[in-house]
Structures are given as structure tokens and as C-alpha cells.
Amino acid sequence: MRREPAQTLGDYTPLLFPAAMLTIFFVVPFGTMIAVSFFQRQQGGFYTPAFVYDNYARFLSAFFGGVLGFSLMLAIAVAVCCVVLALPFTYLLTRMARSVQVLWLVALLSVLSLSEVIIGFAWSTLFSRTAGITNILVALGLMGEAQALTPSFGAVLTGMVYQAFPYTVLVLFPALVRLDPTLTEAARTLGASPLKAFFTVVVPALRNTIVATLIMVFIFALGSYLLPQLLGRPQHWTLSVLITDQAIYQSNMPFAAAMAVFLVLVTLGLVALTVIAGRKGEAA
């Protein structure tokens, strides 16, 4: 089938619906947020329309810089963990029988149906001293005394990886299914071990997919605000937690909006850098 280039204005009508949706549900709210971020905060009240830079000025401090740095670091750690775990898993999954694949995918999809709250509370129970997994280790004689594994950085990371893992698998799955099996067969025929074939053939062939997946999980993890609160100490709170604090509890919408705008800009910047670096790597 050949694609006809658009001839008349009417040919663009199918685009109207997505464009309208994007405008209503993305452009307008985001524009409102940018506008609010310049509004004047009324302490002890709400805000009044104005054009001031105060909200951005307050954000530019070592304290918020530290929180932003931690949030980015956490999101990168989650993205890397997810891809490192999900890539071999998905690769092996695509080599399994159809029925087994369906079973795994259904199980993973059911994890997606869990809310962040349930995941958070479940993990905080699993990591607790009174009812957690360390009790099993004690029963097995592997540990002397049950201890609490939460709140800690490890707990936050585990919870967030658990939450993002199904997305990662679902994004990698189509690419891995489409991967030509003759590539690995050729590598094997030429004497590569299965492990070597995986790293020298499968991984490079999927480079773009892997980078795209990393970016997706990174952005997904950056927005997390509940799990760091439920499973971490205050020093593990992400910028999203502080944004929520300002918006919900301090009724300081302008400052919350300014922080959110900043977070979006930094995210877009990092994604752009990754894409540019990817292109350069390809050209070389």
C-alpha cells in the first residue's frame, strides 16, 4: 500500500481529534502550570496573578539542588535496575512456549493493576520487623533476630523497581519477539557461547530499544512520590514529594508549579542529551 501525501486541508481532519485531546489535556494544563509558577504567593492565603521570579529564586538553593540530584539519581538507578533485570528475563520469555508466555504476561499485567498505595503498604509489611521476610530467615536459622529493612534506600529502590518492572518488560517484549532468531543461531554456529551471543549480538541489535526503555522508566520513576514516603526516610524523599507538600499541604501553588516546571525542564534536557548522544554513537 502506498501512502498518499495530504492533498487538501480536509485530509488533515483525522488529526484534529488527537490534536484537540493533546491541547485540552496536555498543553492547557501545562500552560496553566507555567503561568501559575510566576504568580505571587500570598503567605497564609493563596495566590494572586502576577509576574514574579520569586518562586524560581527560592528553588535555586543547595538544599533543593540536593533533593533534585537525589531524585534524578534514584530515577536513573531504578531505570538501570529495571532494564538489567528485564532484558534477560524478556529474552528468555520470548524463547518459551506460547502458553508460558501468556501466563507470565498476564501475571505481569496484573501487577500493573495494583495501585502505588497497595504496593507501598505491601512492601512496608514485607520489610517490617514484626511481620516481614526477616522472620522467615530467622525461622530458617539464617538470621539471629528479625529486623526492619524499611525505611531505607534499598526499600525505596525495591518498591520502585517492582512497580516499574512490568512496564519495562512490556516495552521490551515486542522488540525481542521480532528479533531474528537466525542472528543468534549464526553466532552459535560460529562458536559463541549462549551468554556471549546474548551480549555481542542481542544487546547491540537492541541498542535503540534499550535506550528508549531506559528513558521511559526514568521518566516514570521520576514522578514517584508515594513509595519514597512509605518506604524511605526524609532524606529519600524525591522532589515530587516536596512538590506535593507545597501544593497540597502548604497551599503554595506558585512554588509547587515552579518546582514542577523545573523538574520537567531538567527531564527534557536529560532526554535530549541521551538522544543526541545516541545519534552521535550511531554515526560513529
Binding site: 503567605q43 497564609g44 492565603g45 514516603q229 497551599s251
Partner: protein, 359 residues
């Protein structure tokens, strides 16, 4: 060409249909006597649903739809945003004092006509919240205490003083409220170590209190925003000590959970909730009937017995026995939060506080 014109017409029709659908809620407004009342979710709302609202409907014929509101100022923000759009997610809401003051700043609360509240004379003055110009912004609904709570399995003996929070023996055992404006820990610090909350009059005094409060940090396992999170951990003994609501802890203890609430010798923190009417609400008449009903000494006594809150009317006007009164309140002079600070210095306090616990 023909196909295109049909498409455009369909699109126009769809647009019109969409626009009229958006306008509909404003056209339809139920005329029956009803009232949406916001109360804190969980135990609190359950007790109101069971013990208070049905009786009110029986007495007045006004049906009540209860709305679970989150604690802290989350609900204030929602009411404020909704009022800007002319909507009221609840007509009347139970609001804390800090939220009342913040709402006053934007005229969020419809003034209450005290002439319509028959039992107004019984109300204690400090529970009537007024605008600076004297209009009544809210009328005391209930008052409650935040006290020192412990798990009875872990602590055989109850603690006697707020100093227990600073005790190195309690390392990593405390659950405290995560916000400066709902934990009132600055006031606790001032009352326990600095001779009273007047010490917070100056910025130097506040900074000193922050410094003292920083010593608590190693003892804190959980800074909670969500009550359920701490309540669960307290019951299981996972986090065996902390600050929590006296009423809810009493209800949990009555259900057989190993928890207790203690009034420290420096006093419990007394906070109160007002009934406040959103300016977007159309149910001004019904709201006054409801407030009037809730101010009756008999209803206040029922609240003390069933919900565990302290009355906002004079104690003599109720028929509470000494024992019943002691269960919901204490003769020890309470720590009264410095609400004024959370209005005049809210951003500064919030910034210092966040740096204290996150840094």
C-alpha cells in the same frame, strides 16, 4: 468533497454536544433539603455516620451526605480550588485552626449568623473562629488532643513527659507528624524545654527550638503524613512510640489493640475543628440548622462518649461524668498551638522545618 462537509458537520455537532454536557451540572441542582458535610476520613467519619448524622436527619428532615476529607491542609486546597470554580465538594467542613486562618485570608468561609445558633451561649469563646473584622468564620465542632502514644507490649510503663521523645533509649522508635503545621512539635519543644510557647515570639526563639528539635531526629523512624501509616505500625509495635490523636488511640485501645495514649506532664496538644461553610455552597440555611444542632450540649456529650472528642461547649452544660470527661480530656493545662505563626511565618517555618527533617 461531500465526505469532507459531512465530517465537518459531525464535528460541529460533537462540539456542541460536548459544550452542553460541560454546562449541565450548573443547570441541574437538586432542590431537596440535603447537606454535604466533610469530616476526617476513617474512624472519625465512621463514628459520625453511625452516631450523629442519622439522628440529625431524624430531628430535622435534612439528609446528610458525609464526605471523607483528608487531614492537614489538603482539604483546604481542594475547597479553595473548587470555590474558585464555583463548586463546593462539601457545604460544611470540619476544619483545623490553621486551615481556618488560611481560608479567612481568601474569604473562603461564608460568615455564620450567630443569631441563628440557639446554643451559642454555651460555646467556649476560644472555639469561635472570627475574621479580623468580627464576622464569625467558623463555629467549634469538636476539640481533640494530640498526645504521647505508646504500644503497651513494648512499653510496660507509660511515659510521663514529652522528654521521652528526646531519650536516646528510644532511638529509631518514634513516629511523628511530618509537617510543621500539624505536628506542633515546636510548641512541644518550647513548653518542655523553654518555659512555654511564648519562647516562640521571636525568630531567635524559634531557631533555638528548631535546634533542640533536631536532637529528636535520630529517634524518628517515620515522619508520617498519612495517619493510617502510623496507626498500623503503632498497633503492631513496629513503631512503638509517637505523637497521635488521643481520641483515635482510645478507640483503637477499646477495640483491643495494645496501644495507650498518655497526657504528658507538660500537657497534651489541644487542637480543634470548626464547622466552616464554603462560600460556593448554596445551603446556607441548612448549614445553620446543622451547626445549631451540633452545638447542643447533649450532642457534644454524645460526641465525647462515641467519638472520643472533647466538647467545645462549657463542661457544666453537659451531663458528662468526671470519668467520661477524663477519658476525652485532662486537667493538665494543654499546649495551645501558636496558630498565628503558621499564618505570618508559614513559608519560613516550612522551609526551616523541611531542611531540618530532610537535610
Amino acid at each position: 468533497m461531500k465526505i469532507n462537509s459531512i465530517k465537518r458537520r459531525t464535528l460541529l455537532g460533537a462540539g456542541l454536544a460536548g459544550a452542553s454536557m460541560l454546562a449541565m451540572p450548573a443547570v441541574l441542582r437538586a432542590q431537596d433539603r440535603s447537606l454535604k458535610v466533610g469530616v476526617y476520613g476513617g474512624y472519625f467519619k465512621d463514628s459520625f455516620d453511625k452516631n450523629i448524622f442519622p439522628e440529625f436527619t431524624k430531628a430535622t428532615g435534612i439528609s446528610v451526605e458525609s464526605v471523607a476529607e483528608p487531614t492537614g491542609e489538603a482539604w483546604l486546597v481542594q475547597l479553595e480550588q473548587a470555590a474558585r470554580a464555583g463548586q463546593a465538594p462539601a457545604d460544611l467542613s470540619m476544619m483545623s485552626q490553621v486551615a481556618m486562618l488560611k481560608g479567612q485570608a481568601t474569604d473562603l468561609w461564608t460568615p455564620i449568623d450567630m443569631a441563628k445558633i440557639k446554643d451559642a451561649s454555651n460555646l467556649l469563646d476560644r472555639f469561635i473562629n472570627k475574621y479580623p473584622d468580627g464576622r464569625v468564620a467558623g463555629v467549634g465542632a469538636v476539640s481533640w488532643y494530640i498526645t504521647l502514644v505508646t504500644n503497651t507490649n513494648v512499653y510496660k510503663e507509660p511515659p510521663t513527659s514529652w522528654e521521652a521523645l528526646w531519650d536516646p533509649a528510644n532511638a529509631d522508635k518514634l513516629g511523628l507528624l511530618a509537617l510543621v503545621s500539624n505536628s506542633f512539635l515546636l510548641e512541644v519543644t518550647a513548653k518542655t524545654f523553654m518555659g512555654g510557647t511564648n519562647a516562640l515570639d521571636t525568630e531567635e526563639g524559634i531557631l533555638k527550638a528548631f535546634e533542640k528539635l533536631a536532637e529528636v531526629k535520630p529517634n524518628v523512624r517515620l515522619w508520617y503524613r498519612d495517619e493510617a501509616q502510623f496507626e498500623q505500625a503503632l498497633k503492631s509495635g513496629e513503631i512503638p512510640m509517637g505523637q497521635y490523636y488521643h481520641d483515635v488511640t482510645g478507640l483503637a485501645a477499646a477495640d483491643g489493640h495494645p496501644v495507650r495514649s498518655t497526657f504528658p506532664k507538660e500537657g497534651g496538644i489541644q487542637d480543634s475543628g470548626c464547622w466552616a461553610l464554603s462560600r460556593a455552597s448554596q445551603k446556607v440555611e441548612e448549614a445553620h440548622v446543622f451547626i445549631d444542632y451540633m452545638c447542643q450540649p447533649a450532642i457534644q456529650a454524645t460526641l465525647s462518649r462515641k467519638v472520643g472528642t472533647a466538647p467545645t461547649v462549657k463542661r457544666e452544660s453537659t451531663d458528662l461524668t468526671d470519668k467520661e470527661f477524663a477519658a476525652v480530656s485532662s486537667d493538665i493545662e494543654p499546649i495551645i498551638p501558636r496558630y498565628d505563626l503558621y499564618q505570618t511565618k508559614s513559608d519560613w517555618l516550612n522551609q526551616k522545618w523541611t531542611e531540618l527533617i530532610v537535610g
